[in-house]
Each structure stands twice: as C-alpha cells, then as structure tokens.
C-alpha cells in the first residue's frame, strides 16, 4: 500500500465523510463506524502497511482520498475477510498520547438483509391474495363444485398395510373417510406461513450480522495492526 500510505505522515485531522442520507441514525442500518488503537510507535505508513494484506484481495480497488485510505469491493470472494463491507474508509487520528485507526464501512449485505423481511412478507401477502382470488373463483363455479362434492362423498378405499409391516408394528393408515371436517375449511392452496417465518428469520439474521460483523472487522483490524510486516524476499 505504499502508494496509499504517503499522506498520513503528518498529523491527521478528523475526516468524517458526509455522504448519503442525512436522516439521523438511519445509516446505522448499513454503515459501521468505529476505532481500534494503534501502537504509538508505529508511523501511519507502517500501520497501513500492516493492514494491506487484509484489504488487498481480488476484486478490491484501493485508493487515497485526502488523509484516508478508501477501498471498494466488487463481488468479493466468499472467504474475503472483509466481504461484508463492500466499501470503506480508514484513517488514523491522534488520541491523547497515542493514535487510533478510525473506520467508516458500508455494507450492501447488511442493507439487503435488513430489507429481506419485506420481500418475504410480500411473498406471504401474495399467498394470501392468491388464496382469496382462487376462493372467489371457486365460489363462482358453484355448480361444478357441487358435482365435485358428490364425488367426494363416495367412500374412499381404505389402504391396508403389508402383513410384514403389521407384524413389525407400524401404525395402520387412517381411514380417509373419517377425517373430513377439518380439511373442508379450505385454507387455500398456498400457505403464508413460510413467508412470515422467513421474514422473522432474516430480521434475526440481520441483528446477528449487525453485531457480529463489526465485531469481526474490529478484531481483524486489531490483529492486522499487531502483525509485523514480513519483508518480501525473492
């Protein structure tokens, strides 16, 4: 990252980017900001050199904006350690006697995961709508339904188990003519329940990710900063 490290030689000012929406706290859905301490014996160039292996991965472009290092990822690999955060800005600030690495990260994945429950609620609503439409259409065909009911009134054959299964004690199949009452209350062809379940699941996964991913990013930054750069040989 030598080409990126130049501008941090001097004292660093606060460099908070002011892009995107201005509604307070809304951007916390997809944006993660924080800081990790930097060993005060390290120069900014050395600190960024240590972060280099973490950031310089396939599909990632690195650049310099003012005092900050910026990166952007295009469809990163599954095992890219920063894959969740598709864009980011990192800079070093003095804090008391020492220094801190500040980061401001943007995540498509967090945003899409936050929105996913809406999609699945939409599918649930679609199921309810189709059921209602089909029920109405079936009502309109009242006459033909009556014929069907006549068919249904015919006794269905009771299936029997093979003697081997009877001997081994498998429960016998139920008489299909007995349990009609419940099913007649037609719930429709599609169930909205999977949609509701998935909406809840994605809401939970979002909360998990919003906590876990910033924690991992912080841990990775800290680990990378603690790792001395091995000079490339040969």
């Amino acid at each position: 990252m030598s080409e990126a490290a130049g501008p941090w030689g001097a004292a660093v000012q606060s460099a908070t980017p002011a892009r995107g929406l201005r509604i307070p706290y809304v951007d916390m859905i997809w944006r993660v900001r924080g800081e990790v301490p930097v060993d005060q014996t390290l120069t900014p160039e050395e600190a960024f050199a240590r972060l280099d292996p973490l950031l310089r991965t396939p599909g990632t472009t690195l650049g310099v904006e003012g005092n900050a290092l910026v990166y952007a990822k295009h469809n990163p690999a599954a095992q890219d350690q920063m894959a969740t955060f598709t864009r980011g800005r990192l800079w070093i600030e003095r804090a008391g006697a020492g220094a801190v690495l500040r980061f401001d990260l943007f995540s498509h994945a967090l945003l899409l995961c936050f929105l996913a429950p809406l999609l699945f609620l939409g599918f649930a609503q679609l199921a309810v709508t189709i059921n209602a439409y089909e029920a109405a259409a079936a009502k309109a065909e009242g006459a033909s339904q009556k014929d069907k009911k006549k068919d249904e009134d015919k006794p269905k054959p009771v299936k029997k188990l093979n003697p081997i299964d009877e001997f081994l004690g498998a429960p016998a199949p139920e008489d299909p003519n007995k349990k009609k009452d419940k099913k007649d209350e037609d719930e429709g062809r599609h169930s909205p329940e999977p949609g509701y379940f998935l909406a809840g699941l994605f809401a939970l996964l979002y909360l998990l990710g919003r906590w876990l991913e910033p924690w991992l990013a912080r841990r990775r930054f800290r680990a990378a900063l603690a790792e001395p750069v091995v000079p490339a040989t040969s």
């Binding site: 199949p173 999977p194 996964l205």
Partner: protein
C-alpha cells in the same frame, strides 16, 4: 497437472482433484470425535427410518417433517463448525444469509409457482389421466420397500435430468449458476437459478399414489443421505455407505474446477446410478467453482440463464443466417 485416469477419462488435469478413497484424509482428534464422525451418518439414517416407521399417525405428517428438517439443519451447521472438512469452506455470515435467501425463495416463491407449472400441476394432470387403482400393488408392498423404490426412482429421474443439464446447452444455462459456488455448506443445494431448482424438482416419484408414510420414509432417506452432498464436515464414511450413497466427497469432485471432474457424480442420493452408468469418480476436491473461482452474486444468478440464452441465441441466429458480423460470440462463461 497430470491428472489420474478413471475409466476412459483423465480426472484432475485442469484443477486439483484427489482420486481414490485411500488418498482422502481421515477425521483427526480423540476417540470420541473419531467415533461420532464415523457413525453419525448411519446412526441418523437408521434413527430417521425408525422414527417415520413407528411414529403414530398424528405425528407422521408433513409439518413434523418440516420441523425436523429445521432442527436437523441447525445440527448440521453446528457440525460444520466443530469439524470442518476444509477451513476454506467455512460458513461466514454473508455466505449464510445468501444461502438462506435461496432456501427462502424455494420455500415461498418457487413453491407457489410449482403448484401451477411444476410437479404439482404435472402430478395432478397425470394422476387424473390414469386409473391409479392399477398401482394398488405398489401401495401393498412393505413400507420400507416402497420408500426405497420411491427414493431410487426419484433419484434416477434426477440423475438423468442433472446429466442432461451438463450435456445440453439450454439446460446447462439454468444449471451453471449452481456451479459458481466456491465452497460447500449444508444449504448450498438451494443455491441456483429458480428455473433450475424448478427443473431438478421434477420427478416421477411423486406420481405414485403411495401411502403417506412411505413418502415420509423416502423423504427421511433423502434428508439423512442426500443432505450430505453439500456439507463442510469431515466424516470417516463407512465403505458400504460410500459405495451406495452420494457423499460430500463425491459431490465436491462434481463441483471442482476440473472440467472432467464436473462431468461425474450426477446423482443426488444413490451414487450407484453413477456407478451403473459409468460416471462415478471416488475422490474429493477443495478448489471449487468456475472461472477461477469467481463468485456469482444473487442478482447475476437470477438473470444468468436469460442473459446468456439471449446472447447465445443472437450469436446462433447471426451464424445461421450469416447476418451482422458484429453479433457477439456465444459465451458459455462470461469473461468478467
């Protein structure tokens, strides 16, 4: 890369594939870990069979199967965490939500569409067209035999559908996105274009009006055998198991970056279909995917067959009618 000759083919010439069971690493760790990861698969298969065989009627219903499936998935994810086959396949939060999205799509949108254009509609039409009483002999067979037949017949259909997908370009376009996965995890079977998921779900097994219990038993075999094809867990797979059944080892060869490797191990549950038709390769691979492991994101997965189909059709028409020379060349793998 030299590769290894398997039958008439050279496997592993273009990307690393380990061929032969003797070359596959064993489970590492203490005696308890060794025991668990040796007997887990058969124990779970027999437990599932016993459960569905003896469960009372009120319990032997589809909603129980769904609940078990959910708990089972969580257990398998925990196993991936405890004993991963490859560190490079470890599930991350982002991969996890991406997989969950495809599973969710299957449970909602694709499920709804299937009722009209998929197996739901086909089964309804065919069942209405025949006198299925003639098949009463089938439902009179012992339950386990019915379940085995359902499972094998369904898998036989899947084998040929899958093989066709690798051999006929229009079908391949629907299946290709699934081959862009770069690691195997429990839910990766759901990753792919909805058209493919719809096609692979078509099976003749559903046509028989069998006893529900036999169907649930067949589902249990699928759940405790077929599920392992996309799992990142190191097992000491028993010899008889890997002879009969598809395993994550087999399926990793199918997903390898080696072209000949991908043209093997097509079955979902019963690897004996591959043995029978000469497409089985016993081995494993770690390096998976297409185009040097380019990951395909959800958006591209959704449009890929249509985009590539459009490009290829234009190229084909241009070639056929010799029109505009500017027409783009057919691209099987987009060079991005």
């Amino acid at each position: 890369m030299a590769g290894v000759q398997v039958g008439k083919r050279i496997i592993g010439a273009t990307a690393p594939v380990t061929v032969g069971w003797e070359n596959i690493p064993k489970v590492e760790g203490g005696p308890i870990k060794q025991f668990v990861f040796t007997y887990f698969q058969p124990a779970m298969l027999f437990a599932a069979i016993l459960f569905w065989y003896y469960a009372p009627n009120w319990l032997a219903v589809a909603s129980t199967a769904i609940a078990i499936r959910l708990g089972w998935t969580v257990l398998l994810l925990a196993l991936e965490w405890v004993n991963p086959r490859h560190k490079s396949w470890q599930l991350t939060w982002k991969e996890g939500i991406s997989d969950a999205f495809y599973v969710g799509l299957g449970m909602t949108f694709i499920g709804m569409a299937d009722a009209y254009i998929g197996d739901g509609a086909i089964i309804g039409a065919v069942q209405g067209a025949f006198d299925w009483k003639k098949f009463d002999w089938f439902t009179g067979l012992p339950l386990l035999l019915q379940a085995l037949l359902i499972s094998m017949i369904f898998d036989f259909g899947q084998y040929w559908m899958h093989r066709a997908m690798h051999n006929w370009h229009p079908l391949w376009l629907t299946h290709a996105p699934h081959h862009y996965i770069t690691q195997l995890n429990v839910q990766k079977g759901a990753v792919g274009n909805p058209v493919e998921l719809f096609l692979i779900g078509l099976g003749i097994g559903g046509l028989f009006d069998f006893l529900p219990r036999a169907f649930l038993l067949a589902g249990a075999i699928g759940m405790t055998v077929g599920v392992y094809q996309h799992i990142n867990v190191r097992f000491n797979v028993p010899r008889w198991w890997r002879f009969l059944f598809n395993t994550t080892e087999h399926h990793s060869v199918h997903h390898s970056r080696d072209y000949e490797g991908t043209r093997s191990n097509y079955s979902g549950t019963w690897i004996i279909w591959d043995r029978m038709f000469g497409t089985c390769v016993d081995g494993e691979a770690e390096l998976l995917g297409m185009e040097e492991g380019r990951r395909m994101h959800i958006g591209e997965t959704m449009v890929y067959p249509f985009r590539e189909g459009w490009r290829d059709s234009k190229a084909w028409l241009a070639k056929k009618f010799g029109a505009r020379a500017a027409a783009p060349q057919a691209q099987l793998e987009p060079a991005e």
